[in-house]
Assembly symmetry: C2
Homo-oligomer: 212 residues x 2
DNA sequence: CGTCATTTTGAACGTTGTTCAATTTTTCCT
DNA sequence: AGGAAAAATTGAACAACGTTCAAAATGACG
Protein backbone atom coordinates (compact mmCIF):
# COMPACT_ATOMS: atom_id res chain seq x y z
CA UNK A 1 0.00 0.00 0.00
CA UNK A 2 2.77 2.41 0.87
CA UNK A 3 5.82 0.50 -0.32
CA UNK A 4 9.23 2.06 -0.54
CA UNK A 5 9.06 1.64 -4.28
CA UNK A 6 5.62 2.97 -4.89
CA UNK A 7 6.23 6.28 -3.21
CA UNK A 8 8.69 7.26 -5.92
CA UNK A 9 6.42 9.19 -8.22
CA UNK A 10 3.29 9.59 -6.16
CA UNK A 11 4.30 12.82 -4.46
CA UNK A 12 4.13 14.51 -7.85
CA UNK A 13 0.39 14.17 -8.18
CA UNK A 14 -0.11 14.81 -4.49
CA UNK A 15 1.91 17.99 -4.65
CA UNK A 16 0.12 19.17 -7.76
CA UNK A 17 -3.20 18.62 -6.01
CA UNK A 18 -2.12 20.50 -2.91
CA UNK A 19 -0.80 23.30 -5.10
CA UNK A 20 -4.09 23.50 -6.92
CA UNK A 21 -6.10 23.42 -3.70
CA UNK A 22 -3.92 26.10 -2.19
CA UNK A 23 -4.36 28.40 -5.14
CA UNK A 24 -8.11 27.80 -5.19
CA UNK A 25 -8.46 28.57 -1.49
CA UNK A 26 -6.28 31.66 -1.82
CA UNK A 27 -8.47 32.83 -4.67
CA UNK A 28 -11.98 31.93 -3.59
CA UNK A 29 -11.75 31.00 0.06
CA UNK A 30 -12.31 27.65 1.70
CA UNK A 31 -15.93 27.43 0.61
CA UNK A 32 -14.82 27.88 -3.00
CA UNK A 33 -12.77 24.71 -3.00
CA UNK A 34 -14.42 22.20 -5.36
CA UNK A 35 -13.09 18.77 -6.19
CA UNK A 36 -13.67 19.23 -9.92
CA UNK A 37 -11.89 22.58 -10.02
CA UNK A 38 -8.89 21.20 -8.18
CA UNK A 39 -8.50 18.16 -10.39
CA UNK A 40 -8.83 20.22 -13.53
CA UNK A 41 -6.21 22.66 -12.27
CA UNK A 42 -3.94 19.77 -11.34
CA UNK A 43 -4.50 18.13 -14.69
CA UNK A 44 -5.84 14.78 -13.56
CA UNK A 45 -9.07 12.87 -13.29
CA UNK A 46 -11.71 13.57 -10.70
CA UNK A 47 -11.17 10.37 -8.78
CA UNK A 48 -7.43 10.89 -8.64
CA UNK A 49 -7.88 12.90 -5.50
CA UNK A 50 -8.63 9.74 -3.59
CA UNK A 51 -5.42 8.08 -4.70
CA UNK A 52 -3.28 10.90 -3.38
CA UNK A 53 -5.29 11.75 -0.35
CA UNK A 54 -8.05 10.23 1.76
CA UNK A 55 -10.45 13.09 1.57
CA UNK A 56 -11.00 16.67 0.56
CA UNK A 57 -10.63 17.30 4.27
CA UNK A 58 -7.11 15.95 4.21
CA UNK A 59 -6.34 18.11 1.22
CA UNK A 60 -7.45 21.15 3.20
CA UNK A 61 -5.35 20.07 6.15
CA UNK A 62 -2.31 19.75 3.90
CA UNK A 63 -2.86 23.27 2.61
CA UNK A 64 -3.32 24.47 6.15
CA UNK A 65 -0.04 22.87 7.14
CA UNK A 66 1.71 24.81 4.44
CA UNK A 67 0.07 27.99 5.65
CA UNK A 68 1.13 27.28 9.21
CA UNK A 69 4.68 26.71 8.01
CA UNK A 70 4.72 30.01 6.17
CA UNK A 71 3.23 31.67 9.22
CA UNK A 72 6.02 30.17 11.26
CA UNK A 73 8.59 31.68 8.93
CA UNK A 74 6.87 35.05 9.11
CA UNK A 75 7.00 34.86 12.88
CA UNK A 76 10.59 33.71 13.17
CA UNK A 77 12.35 37.10 13.00
CA UNK A 78 10.25 38.34 15.91
CA UNK A 79 11.93 35.93 18.30
CA UNK A 80 15.24 37.69 17.78
CA UNK A 81 14.09 40.86 19.52
CA UNK A 82 15.95 42.07 22.57
CA UNK A 83 13.51 41.65 25.45
CA UNK A 84 10.70 39.11 25.86
CA UNK A 85 8.20 41.94 25.89
CA UNK A 86 9.32 43.19 22.51
CA UNK A 87 9.35 39.62 21.24
CA UNK A 88 5.69 39.29 22.15
CA UNK A 89 4.83 42.59 20.52
CA UNK A 90 6.72 41.64 17.39
CA UNK A 91 5.07 38.21 17.30
CA UNK A 92 1.60 39.66 17.58
CA UNK A 93 2.31 42.30 14.98
CA UNK A 94 3.77 39.76 12.56
CA UNK A 95 0.72 37.61 13.15
CA UNK A 96 -1.63 40.45 12.28
CA UNK A 97 0.37 41.38 9.19
CA UNK A 98 0.44 37.79 8.00
CA UNK A 99 -3.30 37.49 8.43
CA UNK A 100 -3.85 40.67 6.46
CA UNK A 101 -1.57 39.59 3.65
CA UNK A 102 -2.93 36.03 3.44
CA UNK A 103 -6.56 36.58 4.30
CA UNK A 104 -8.20 33.62 2.61
CA UNK A 105 -5.53 31.08 3.45
CA UNK A 106 -5.32 32.31 7.02
CA UNK A 107 -9.09 32.17 7.38
CA UNK A 108 -9.08 28.61 6.10
CA UNK A 109 -6.98 27.65 9.11
CA UNK A 110 -9.93 28.33 11.38
CA UNK A 111 -12.97 27.94 9.16
CA UNK A 112 -12.22 24.33 8.42
CA UNK A 113 -14.28 21.86 10.44
CA UNK A 114 -13.98 18.14 10.04
CA UNK A 115 -16.98 15.83 10.27
CA UNK A 116 -18.40 15.04 13.63
CA UNK A 117 -16.44 12.14 15.04
CA UNK A 118 -13.11 12.55 13.30
CA UNK A 119 -10.11 14.05 14.96
CA UNK A 120 -7.51 16.37 13.52
CA UNK A 121 -4.58 14.51 11.98
CA UNK A 122 -1.55 14.20 14.24
CA UNK A 123 0.89 15.86 11.86
CA UNK A 124 -1.43 18.85 11.67
CA UNK A 125 -1.83 19.07 15.41
CA UNK A 126 1.93 19.14 15.78
CA UNK A 127 2.14 22.09 13.41
CA UNK A 128 -0.09 23.98 15.79
CA UNK A 129 2.01 23.14 18.79
CA UNK A 130 5.13 24.45 17.10
CA UNK A 131 3.31 27.75 16.86
CA UNK A 132 2.30 27.66 20.49
CA UNK A 133 5.87 26.95 21.54
CA UNK A 134 7.00 30.08 19.78
CA UNK A 135 4.71 32.13 21.96
CA UNK A 136 5.50 30.14 25.06
CA UNK A 137 9.20 30.93 25.02
CA UNK A 138 9.04 34.69 25.66
CA UNK A 139 6.18 34.28 28.08
CA UNK A 140 8.21 31.77 30.06
CA UNK A 141 10.99 34.34 30.14
CA UNK A 142 8.64 36.94 31.55
CA UNK A 143 7.12 34.58 34.07
CA UNK A 144 9.75 31.96 35.00
CA UNK A 145 7.83 31.15 38.17
CA UNK A 146 4.79 29.69 36.39
CA UNK A 147 4.43 25.90 36.32
CA UNK A 148 4.35 24.33 32.87
CA UNK A 149 0.65 23.60 32.69
CA UNK A 150 -0.38 27.02 33.90
CA UNK A 151 1.99 28.51 31.35
CA UNK A 152 0.17 26.58 28.67
CA UNK A 153 -3.12 28.14 29.76
CA UNK A 154 -1.59 31.59 29.64
CA UNK A 155 -0.17 30.99 26.19
CA UNK A 156 -3.52 29.85 24.93
CA UNK A 157 -5.17 32.89 26.43
CA UNK A 158 -2.66 35.23 24.91
CA UNK A 159 -2.89 33.63 21.52
CA UNK A 160 -6.67 33.43 21.68
CA UNK A 161 -6.95 37.10 22.54
CA UNK A 162 -4.73 38.27 19.71
CA UNK A 163 -6.30 35.87 17.30
CA UNK A 164 -9.79 36.97 18.27
CA UNK A 165 -9.03 40.62 17.63
CA UNK A 166 -7.47 39.94 14.26
CA UNK A 167 -10.25 37.57 13.31
CA UNK A 168 -12.95 40.06 14.19
CA UNK A 169 -11.20 42.82 12.30
CA UNK A 170 -10.90 40.67 9.19
CA UNK A 171 -14.43 39.37 9.35
CA UNK A 172 -15.94 42.80 9.22
CA UNK A 173 -14.56 43.66 5.83
CA UNK A 174 -11.64 46.01 6.13
CA UNK A 175 -13.59 49.02 4.89
CA UNK A 176 -12.97 51.76 7.39
CA UNK A 177 -10.46 49.84 9.45
CA UNK A 178 -7.00 50.54 8.07
CA UNK A 179 -4.18 48.12 8.62
CA UNK A 180 -2.37 50.52 10.89
CA UNK A 181 -5.35 50.75 13.24
CA UNK A 182 -5.53 46.99 13.61
CA UNK A 183 -1.83 46.77 14.37
CA UNK A 184 -2.24 49.53 16.92
CA UNK A 185 -5.06 47.69 18.64
CA UNK A 186 -3.12 44.45 18.70
CA UNK A 187 -0.07 46.20 20.10
CA UNK A 188 -2.12 47.84 22.82
CA UNK A 189 -3.72 44.52 23.63
CA UNK A 190 -0.42 42.71 23.98
CA UNK A 191 1.10 45.48 26.05
CA UNK A 192 -1.82 45.32 28.45
CA UNK A 193 -1.59 41.54 28.66
CA UNK A 194 2.14 41.50 29.16
CA UNK A 195 1.84 44.15 31.84
CA UNK A 196 -0.93 42.10 33.41
CA UNK A 197 1.20 38.98 33.26
CA UNK A 198 3.85 40.72 35.35
CA UNK A 199 1.37 41.42 38.10
CA UNK A 200 0.07 38.94 40.63
CA UNK A 201 -1.89 36.05 39.21
CA UNK A 202 -5.58 35.88 39.99
CA UNK A 203 -5.94 33.54 42.92
CA UNK A 204 -7.04 30.15 41.63
CA UNK A 205 -9.84 29.83 44.17
CA UNK A 206 -12.07 32.68 45.26
CA UNK A 207 -11.22 34.58 42.08
CA UNK A 208 -12.93 37.69 40.77
CA UNK A 209 -15.72 35.69 39.18
CA UNK A 210 -19.22 36.61 40.34
CA UNK A 211 -21.55 33.86 41.41
CA UNK A 212 -23.15 31.99 38.52
CA UNK B 1 -46.20 40.18 -1.62
CA UNK B 2 -46.34 41.13 2.05
CA UNK B 3 -49.94 42.23 2.36
CA UNK B 4 -51.58 42.97 5.65
CA UNK B 5 -53.92 40.05 5.09
CA UNK B 6 -51.43 37.48 3.92
CA UNK B 7 -49.20 37.86 6.95
CA UNK B 8 -51.95 36.53 9.19
CA UNK B 9 -51.04 32.88 9.22
CA UNK B 10 -47.65 32.86 7.57
CA UNK B 11 -45.65 33.41 10.75
CA UNK B 12 -46.88 30.02 11.87
CA UNK B 13 -44.97 28.08 9.27
CA UNK B 14 -42.05 30.47 9.47
CA UNK B 15 -41.83 30.05 13.22
CA UNK B 16 -42.11 26.29 12.98
CA UNK B 17 -39.25 26.29 10.48
CA UNK B 18 -37.07 28.49 12.66
CA UNK B 19 -37.88 26.28 15.63
CA UNK B 20 -36.90 23.20 13.68
CA UNK B 21 -33.71 24.78 12.40
CA UNK B 22 -32.79 25.93 15.87
CA UNK B 23 -33.25 22.49 17.34
CA UNK B 24 -31.27 20.89 14.51
CA UNK B 25 -28.38 23.31 14.94
CA UNK B 26 -28.42 22.85 18.70
CA UNK B 27 -28.28 19.11 18.19
CA UNK B 28 -25.89 18.65 15.28
CA UNK B 29 -24.21 21.98 14.75
CA UNK B 30 -24.49 24.34 11.84
CA UNK B 31 -23.06 21.85 9.37
CA UNK B 32 -25.76 19.38 10.36
CA UNK B 33 -28.56 21.63 9.20
CA UNK B 34 -30.23 20.02 6.17
CA UNK B 35 -33.25 21.37 4.34
CA UNK B 36 -34.96 17.99 4.30
CA UNK B 37 -34.49 17.42 8.01
CA UNK B 38 -35.85 20.84 8.86
CA UNK B 39 -38.96 20.51 6.71
CA UNK B 40 -39.67 17.05 8.08
CA UNK B 41 -39.32 18.32 11.62
CA UNK B 42 -41.54 21.30 10.85
CA UNK B 43 -44.10 19.05 9.20
CA UNK B 44 -44.20 20.61 5.76
CA UNK B 45 -42.98 20.03 2.24
CA UNK B 46 -39.41 20.52 1.14
CA UNK B 47 -40.10 23.58 -0.97
CA UNK B 48 -42.05 25.27 1.79
CA UNK B 49 -38.84 26.72 3.11
CA UNK B 50 -38.76 29.12 0.18
CA UNK B 51 -42.22 30.43 0.90
CA UNK B 52 -41.36 31.39 4.45
CA UNK B 53 -37.80 32.47 3.88
CA UNK B 54 -35.54 33.40 1.01
CA UNK B 55 -32.79 30.95 1.73
CA UNK B 56 -31.35 28.47 4.14
CA UNK B 57 -28.93 31.29 4.90
CA UNK B 58 -31.77 33.47 6.06
CA UNK B 59 -33.07 30.63 8.21
CA UNK B 60 -29.68 30.45 9.88
CA UNK B 61 -29.64 34.19 10.40
CA UNK B 62 -33.06 34.01 12.05
CA UNK B 63 -31.81 31.32 14.42
CA UNK B 64 -28.72 33.38 15.10
CA UNK B 65 -30.88 36.37 15.93
CA UNK B 66 -32.68 34.31 18.52
CA UNK B 67 -29.38 33.19 19.97
CA UNK B 68 -28.14 36.76 20.13
CA UNK B 69 -31.32 37.76 21.92
CA UNK B 70 -30.89 35.01 24.48
CA UNK B 71 -27.26 36.00 24.86
CA UNK B 72 -28.41 39.54 25.49
CA UNK B 73 -30.70 38.34 28.26
CA UNK B 74 -27.91 36.28 29.77
CA UNK B 75 -25.69 39.35 29.76
CA UNK B 76 -28.25 41.76 31.15
CA UNK B 77 -27.77 41.10 34.89
CA UNK B 78 -24.07 41.84 34.57
CA UNK B 79 -24.75 45.49 33.79
CA UNK B 80 -26.23 45.95 37.23
CA UNK B 81 -22.92 45.47 38.99
CA UNK B 82 -21.54 48.24 41.16
CA UNK B 83 -18.45 49.47 39.34
CA UNK B 84 -17.71 49.49 35.62
CA UNK B 85 -14.78 47.15 36.22
CA UNK B 86 -17.00 44.56 37.84
CA UNK B 87 -19.55 45.03 35.08
CA UNK B 88 -16.90 44.11 32.53
CA UNK B 89 -15.82 41.08 34.51
CA UNK B 90 -19.39 39.95 34.91
CA UNK B 91 -20.10 40.49 31.22
CA UNK B 92 -17.12 38.44 30.15
CA UNK B 93 -17.92 35.69 32.61
CA UNK B 94 -21.55 35.55 31.52
CA UNK B 95 -20.37 35.42 27.93
CA UNK B 96 -18.12 32.46 28.63
CA UNK B 97 -20.82 30.64 30.55
CA UNK B 98 -23.36 31.23 27.81
CA UNK B 99 -20.96 29.89 25.22
CA UNK B 100 -20.32 26.80 27.31
CA UNK B 101 -24.01 26.14 27.87
CA UNK B 102 -25.03 26.78 24.25
CA UNK B 103 -22.01 25.48 22.41
CA UNK B 104 -23.52 24.58 19.05
CA UNK B 105 -25.86 27.55 18.80
CA UNK B 106 -23.15 29.92 19.94
CA UNK B 107 -20.69 28.46 17.44
CA UNK B 108 -23.24 28.91 14.67
CA UNK B 109 -23.08 32.65 15.30
CA UNK B 110 -19.53 32.74 13.99
CA UNK B 111 -19.29 29.72 11.73
CA UNK B 112 -21.96 30.96 9.40
CA UNK B 113 -20.63 32.52 6.20
CA UNK B 114 -22.88 33.85 3.50
CA UNK B 115 -22.02 33.51 -0.18
CA UNK B 116 -19.41 35.75 -1.66
CA UNK B 117 -21.12 38.97 -2.64
CA UNK B 118 -24.05 39.07 -0.24
CA UNK B 119 -24.12 41.20 2.84
CA UNK B 120 -25.48 40.38 6.26
CA UNK B 121 -29.12 41.36 6.65
CA UNK B 122 -29.70 44.69 8.36
CA UNK B 123 -31.86 43.34 11.16
CA UNK B 124 -29.12 40.87 12.01
CA UNK B 125 -26.43 43.50 11.96
CA UNK B 126 -28.43 45.57 14.42
CA UNK B 127 -28.61 42.63 16.80
CA UNK B 128 -24.84 42.64 16.89
CA UNK B 129 -24.64 46.34 17.61
CA UNK B 130 -26.93 45.97 20.58
CA UNK B 131 -24.38 43.57 21.98
CA UNK B 132 -21.51 45.94 21.33
CA UNK B 133 -23.36 48.76 23.05
CA UNK B 134 -23.63 46.66 26.17
CA UNK B 135 -19.87 46.41 26.33
CA UNK B 136 -19.36 49.99 25.34
CA UNK B 137 -21.26 51.43 28.29
CA UNK B 138 -18.95 50.31 31.12
CA UNK B 139 -15.88 51.00 29.03
CA UNK B 140 -17.07 54.53 28.41
CA UNK B 141 -17.48 54.88 32.16
CA UNK B 142 -13.90 53.78 32.70
CA UNK B 143 -12.54 55.99 29.95
CA UNK B 144 -14.81 59.03 29.61
CA UNK B 145 -12.06 60.92 27.80
CA UNK B 146 -12.02 58.66 24.73
CA UNK B 147 -13.67 59.98 21.56
CA UNK B 148 -16.56 57.91 20.24
CA UNK B 149 -14.77 56.27 17.33
CA UNK B 150 -11.73 55.32 19.36
CA UNK B 151 -14.05 53.90 21.97
CA UNK B 152 -15.56 51.72 19.27
CA UNK B 153 -12.12 50.38 18.43
CA UNK B 154 -11.46 49.58 22.07
CA UNK B 155 -14.80 47.83 22.43
CA UNK B 156 -14.10 45.71 19.41
CA UNK B 157 -10.68 44.83 20.75
CA UNK B 158 -12.05 43.91 24.13
CA UNK B 159 -14.82 41.82 22.69
CA UNK B 160 -12.52 40.22 20.17
CA UNK B 161 -10.04 39.23 22.84
CA UNK B 162 -12.61 37.62 25.12
CA UNK B 163 -14.33 35.98 22.21
CA UNK B 164 -11.07 34.61 20.88
CA UNK B 165 -10.16 32.99 24.16
CA UNK B 166 -13.58 31.40 24.57
CA UNK B 167 -13.63 30.30 20.96
CA UNK B 168 -10.24 28.67 21.20
CA UNK B 169 -11.17 26.91 24.40
CA UNK B 170 -14.33 25.52 22.87
CA UNK B 171 -12.71 24.48 19.64
CA UNK B 172 -10.21 22.27 21.35
CA UNK B 173 -12.76 19.90 22.81
CA UNK B 174 -13.26 20.59 26.46
CA UNK B 175 -11.42 17.46 27.52
CA UNK B 176 -8.93 18.55 30.11
CA UNK B 177 -10.07 22.15 30.24
CA UNK B 178 -12.66 22.46 32.97
CA UNK B 179 -15.20 25.24 32.88
CA UNK B 180 -13.69 26.89 35.93
CA UNK B 181 -10.29 27.19 34.25
CA UNK B 182 -11.76 28.93 31.24
CA UNK B 183 -13.66 31.37 33.42
CA UNK B 184 -10.45 32.05 35.33
CA UNK B 185 -8.54 32.78 32.17
CA UNK B 186 -11.25 35.07 30.89
CA UNK B 187 -11.37 36.90 34.20
CA UNK B 188 -7.62 37.37 34.22
CA UNK B 189 -7.73 38.58 30.65
CA UNK B 190 -10.39 41.18 31.34
CA UNK B 191 -8.67 42.37 34.48
CA UNK B 192 -5.46 42.91 32.58
CA UNK B 193 -7.28 44.72 29.80
CA UNK B 194 -9.28 46.92 32.12
CA UNK B 195 -6.12 47.77 34.02
CA UNK B 196 -4.44 48.51 30.71
CA UNK B 197 -7.34 50.70 29.64
CA UNK B 198 -6.82 52.87 32.70
CA UNK B 199 -3.24 53.54 31.72
CA UNK B 200 -2.07 55.92 29.04
CA UNK B 201 -3.17 55.03 25.54
CA UNK B 202 -0.51 53.93 23.13
CA UNK B 203 0.43 56.96 21.13
CA UNK B 204 -1.25 56.76 17.73
CA UNK B 205 1.95 57.51 15.87
CA UNK B 206 5.36 56.16 16.84
CA UNK B 207 3.70 53.29 18.67
CA UNK B 208 5.38 50.17 19.97
CA UNK B 209 5.09 48.40 16.65
CA UNK B 210 8.44 47.27 15.24
CA UNK B 211 9.27 48.15 11.69
CA UNK B 212 7.60 45.91 9.10
C1' DC C 1 -71.40 27.77 -5.62
C1' DG C 2 -67.99 29.39 -8.66
C1' DT C 3 -64.01 32.10 -9.56
C1' DC C 4 -59.86 33.93 -8.64
C1' DA C 5 -55.71 34.54 -5.55
C1' DT C 6 -52.75 32.49 -2.43
C1' DT C 7 -50.32 28.85 -0.35
C1' DT C 8 -48.44 24.33 -0.37
C1' DT C 9 -46.60 20.51 -2.55
C1' DG C 10 -43.04 17.21 -4.18
C1' DA C 11 -40.98 15.73 -8.49
C1' DA C 12 -37.17 17.35 -11.05
C1' DC C 13 -32.70 19.93 -11.77
C1' DG C 14 -27.90 21.27 -11.12
C1' DT C 15 -24.03 20.86 -8.19
C1' DT C 16 -21.68 18.77 -4.63
C1' DG C 17 -18.14 14.70 -2.73
C1' DT C 18 -17.19 9.97 -3.21
C1' DT C 19 -16.89 5.16 -5.18
C1' DC C 20 -15.33 1.53 -8.17
C1' DA C 21 -14.98 -1.50 -12.28
C1' DA C 22 -12.38 -0.82 -16.25
C1' DT C 23 -8.25 0.82 -18.38
C1' DT C 24 -3.64 2.40 -18.68
C1' DT C 25 0.90 2.57 -16.94
C1' DT C 26 4.69 0.86 -14.33
C1' DT C 27 7.43 -2.80 -12.29
C1' DC C 28 10.11 -6.72 -12.30
C1' DC C 29 11.33 -11.48 -13.27
C1' DT C 30 12.84 -14.81 -16.91
C1' DA D 1 13.28 -7.73 -24.79
C1' DG D 2 8.72 -9.87 -23.35
C1' DG D 3 5.03 -10.54 -20.71
C1' DA D 4 2.59 -11.09 -16.50
C1' DA D 5 1.55 -9.21 -12.06
C1' DA D 6 0.88 -4.91 -9.53
C1' DA D 7 -0.12 -0.34 -9.15
C1' DA D 8 -1.94 3.92 -10.62
C1' DT D 9 -5.28 6.44 -13.23
C1' DT D 10 -9.57 7.20 -15.24
C1' DG D 11 -14.38 8.92 -15.65
C1' DA D 12 -19.06 7.23 -15.59
C1' DA D 13 -22.28 6.47 -11.96
C1' DC D 14 -24.21 7.32 -7.27
C1' DA D 15 -26.09 9.51 -3.22
C1' DA D 16 -26.96 13.73 -0.86
C1' DC D 17 -27.47 18.39 -1.09
C1' DG D 18 -30.02 23.25 -1.97
C1' DT D 19 -33.15 25.24 -5.04
C1' DT D 20 -36.93 25.77 -8.59
C1' DC D 21 -41.48 25.56 -10.46
C1' DA D 22 -45.68 23.70 -12.64
C1' DA D 23 -49.36 21.60 -10.57
C1' DA D 24 -52.55 20.72 -6.78
C1' DA D 25 -54.77 22.20 -2.62
C1' DT D 26 -56.62 25.68 0.11
C1' DG D 27 -58.68 30.03 1.22
C1' DA D 28 -61.34 34.43 0.11
C1' DC D 29 -65.33 36.73 -1.59
C1' DG D 30 -69.45 38.13 -4.32
Amino acid sequence: MSDARTTDRRPDLRTRLIDAAESKIAEKGLAGLKARDVTQLAGCALGAIYNAVADLDELVQRVNSRTLARLGEALAPASAAATPEVVMLALADAYAVFALQNRKLWSALFEHRLPDGVEMADWHRQDHEVLIARIGAPLAAIRPDLPADELRYRVRTLFGAVHGVVHLALQARLVGLPEAALRQEVAALVMALVAGARQAVVHPDRGAIPAP
